[in-house]
Symmetry: C2
Subunit: 151 residues, 2 copies
Amino acid sequence: MSKAHPHSPRTLESQDSLFLRAMSMLKESGYKRTMHRETLVRFFIMNPGPLTTEDIQTRTDGLDKVTIYRSLASFESLGLLRRIDFGDGLLRYELNLNDEEHHHHVICTQCGKVDVVHHCEVSAISQIETQTGYRSIRHSLEFFGLCPQCQ
Amino acid sequence: MSKAHPHSPRTLESQDSLFLRAMSMLKESGYKRTMHRETLVRFFIMNPGPLTTEDIQTRTDGLDKVTIYRSLASFESLGLLRRIDFGDGLLRYELNLNDEEHHHHVICTQCGKVDVVHHCEVSAISQIETQTGYRSIRHSLEFFGLCPQCQ
DNA sequence: ATGTGTGCAAAAGCTTTGCAATAAA
DNA sequence: TTTATTGCAAAGCTTTTGCACACAT
């Protein structure tokens, strides 16, 4: 159901520098460097695109789900990962290092394939259609912030 | 946690016509007209904005949750309601009759207040800030459609 | 009468929490 | 040695399913 789609390949060089950057983020924030965390970071670097805990568990050597959940939550609070919601009740995470530009996704409602959308404009749906080949596109757009009373 | 915010009041006249429209949608699709369904439709008409099953159950006379889930699913498939996802793992529904214009929401990350956003452009965030008073706005934008292979 | 709708109980997911054992600094 | 991390089991939540009974047409 949840198929990770390699958006764009990374060079070995960029893989290394991303990994080093992630490790120093962990260190700076007082997190310990463990084998599992290294595995997870490497996995996200090798697999661009939003990943579920299921994706991760089956495609790494059987890391415990609880460890995955807890690590991803930590990574998210560090800004190393960002959480992505497809509205299907599954948590998904994607690498969020500085050079990963802001983007969104098109999700196939039938096969679950995921592609990247670089536009941040809903009005560009026809462009998305020509560029990605997806059809019958609908979108979900919600904003989150602090209301006047909570500021 | 989930506070329904009356977006804009409805006139009694529009309430009636919405109700009649909803009833005929049910009839045309072969659904039976039951007391519970009337209650639910009325509730959505009286309470604009995305509602959770919890909202509905506590604020109607103790309708069974299962009945609510099943009715809302039917209503959604009819196009009478649309499903809205705030990414918190709760189902939310909102009236989706023709005269309800396309819109999105700003959700307060602290108190859960919900307001309407009429812009469909992410670039208009500064406008949203001035018009709604919300600050530190982030957004979630995902597209759904059929990929080339699934068409 | 016929088939849909409803409620209760139970099951099914996914995610979180508790706690003792383990590993990093 | 001191504190964070991990794994197992169990709990928590929301949503879905099964089934007998009730209701609409």
